[in-house]
């Protein structure tokens, strides 16, 4: 009887030890995964986007199992209602979003795109910040200029965005852009 008891106890201890090891490993693996679904915002304007910015956003999204949120920012002229249909802008945005989605899907990154209207690009971005949540924003410093974000816009973004902002330095390969 004592022999059987000892064998049973040894088996129980073995099972408990196995459970402890398995649960520690499982917890370790679980802690490596993101606690919530991450979103990475990639705002852009016009008919091209910096390949550096897109590639950086895709690399981050892939590494963090995050969703990429490419957002086309449309400036609506003052004489039009802000919420009006903008087919001319949509004709630029849709092929760009399609091209970004194609590239993202090729790398296994899920995409949840947006088109946001505002009186200026900054206004559109602020409207987007109001009703969407994301963990990172990726913008390219190469897109500064008349068609994209100005230096002031980037400073504003650093100040206002409730997320980590990644501004990419100008680089030698900045001439590479993605167009639709």
């Amino acid at each position: 009887v004592i022999e059987h008891f000892l064998v049973g106890l040894a088996l129980l201890l073995g099972l408990f030890g196995g459970y402890l090891i398995a649960s520690t490993r499982w917890r370790g693996k679980r802690s490596e995964r993101p606690q919530q679904v991450h979103q990475i915002l990639l705002p852009f304007t016009g008919t091209e986007i910096s390949r550096r910015a897109l590639d950086a956003a895709l690399r981050l999204a892939k590494a963090e199992h995050a969703t990429l949120m490419p957002a086309y920012l449309a400036a609506v002229p003052k004489q039009l209602p802000l919420e009006c249909a903008i087919p001319a802008e949509a004709a630029k945005a849709m092929p760009m979003l399609e091209a970004i989605e194609q590239r993202a899907t090729g790398q296994g990154v899920p995409v949840d795109a947006r088109v946001e209207r505002g009186r200026s690009y900054r206004h559109a971005l602020s409207r987007l910040l109001e009703h969407e949540s994301f963990d990172r924003v990726v913008v390219s410093a190469t897109s500064t200029g008349a068609a994209g974000f100005s230096g002031d816009d980037l400073v504003w973004l650093l100040d206002k965005a409730p997320a980590e902002v990644l501004i990419l330095r100008p680089g030698p390969e900045d001439h590479r852009v993605l167009t639709a």
């Binding site: 039009l80 009006c84 949509a90 949840d112 947006r114």
Partner: protein, 374 residues
């Protein structure tokens, strides 16, 4: 007393020849023995237009002082008293100065028609209220004098005065539209080829829609049966297409919407988006976020997002197709069928059976992982 016959000459921009054509037809009516008078003519100092008006009786204008400036306006009481068979009244979108019978000339025209007098009139497409925003976006120029679209709907005939953008620019350069000193400014602003091409497209579509709506109105069968039956009877007579895309509140639906919008643009037609929501499920959390995103996208594209609560997807779609007169249905790829679901007929086939004959069904493949529409 029968209402007069109303004919509108519609153009994409000033200088295409609307007034000229109206006057030409006025002469033809005189030659046919009718009593024709010009109620109001705005020749814009164009020699060709003034020459064409020669020989037609002109009803005297009245002088009105507005903001200390004396302007000449159509004299509605005199025209009504003159009572010709046909009145030629230029520029129906014109705003009258305060103190006259009506604020707008198209309202004066309504009085003339009500008096049993036929009317020929003119208007440019950017004056139509619903197109004003679109034209402003395309051209950067917004006109202040607008008229409700229903004005075009009240016309018995709408005649499009079409001219290629190149021909209009050539007319402008030749000084046939504006005096010499204004030509360069006009060419650099409103009268750019790309602006004119866009306006021409808008005008052609507007007239096509008008023709289509009149066909539908004229051919409605006896008003018997249910509303669904009557709508179903109308659908095959529609000339234009109308696109309906089935969506779900998921990011993958956006690709379907983009595809559908591109097709709608090519067909020159309206786009409806339909989500058939399972009954009883509240719209909250992630679903709410995605519905908001879809609504936003639809608004940007000028599409209509419809949300129908129904437990039978096919029945709901069939009803909406009939109600909206859809001729084209776009669906996403279906989920892989499991278990007993394999025995069911695939969704596209069920949709084809349930919708009126002639409604095409197109399946849009998902780019990434398999995520279906049912």
């Amino acid at each position: 007393m029968d209402r007069g016959h109303y004919k509108i000459f519609l153009g994409m921009a000033a200088g295409v020849g609307k007034t000229y054509r109206m006057l030409q037809e006025g002469h033809a009516e005189v030659a046919a023995g009718r009593d024709v008078a010009i109620g109001y003519l705005e020749p814009h100092k164009r020699q060709e237009t003034s020459d064409q008006a020669r020989g037609l009786e002109v009803v005297s204008r009245r002088k009105v002082t507005y903001r200390e400036v004396e302007v000449e306006e159509m004299d509605l009481p005199v025209l009504l008293a003159r009572r010709p068979d046909l009145a030629l009244i230029d520029e129906l979108a014109h705003s009258n100065p305060p103190g006259l019978e009506h604020e707008k000339r198209f309202e004066d025209i309504a009085d003339v028609l009500a008096a049993g007098i036929d009317v020929f009139s003119t208007v440019n497409v950017q004056h139509l209220e619903s197109l004003n925003d679109r034209v402003a976006e395309l051209t950067g120029v917004r006109v202040r004098e607008t008229v409700p679209d229903s004005v075009l709907g009240t016309a018995d005939e709408v005649v499009l005065i079409d001219l290629t953008p190149e021909a209009l620019v050539a007319r402008l350069r030749a000084g046939k539209v504006y005096p010499g000193e204004n030509i360069e400014a006009a060419l650099n602003n409103f009268f750019r080829i790309e602006n004119l091409a866009a306006l021409r497209e808008v005008s052609l579509r507007q007239v096509a829609e008008d023709v289509e709506s009149k066909r539908l109105t004229l051919h409605v069968p006896e008003p018997l049966g249910t509303r669904e039956e009557r709508v179903a009877a109308e659908v095959p007579q529609a000339v234009g297409e109308r696109l309906l895309a089935l969506v779900r509140p998921t990011p993958s639906s956006q690709r379907l919407v983009r595809r559908a919008w591109r097709s709608a643009q090519r067909l020159g037609t309206d786009l409806d988006l339909l989500w058939v929501k399972p009954p009883g499920k509240p719209i909250e959390g992630d679903v709410e976020r995605q519905v908001t995103a879809l609504r936003q996208l639809a608004s940007v594209l000028g599409a209509t997002l419809l949300i129908e609560e129904h437990d039978d997807l096919v029945a709901a779609v069939a009803r909406v197709v009939r109600e909206r007169g859809s001729t084209y249905l776009m669906v996403g790829e279906s989920l892989p069928r499991k278990g007993l679901g394999r025995l069911r007929e695939p969704l596209p086939q069920r949709l084809m059976k349930a919708t009126p004959a002639g409604v095409d069904v197109r399946i849009v493949a998902h780019r990434g992982g398999r995520e279906g529409s049912e």
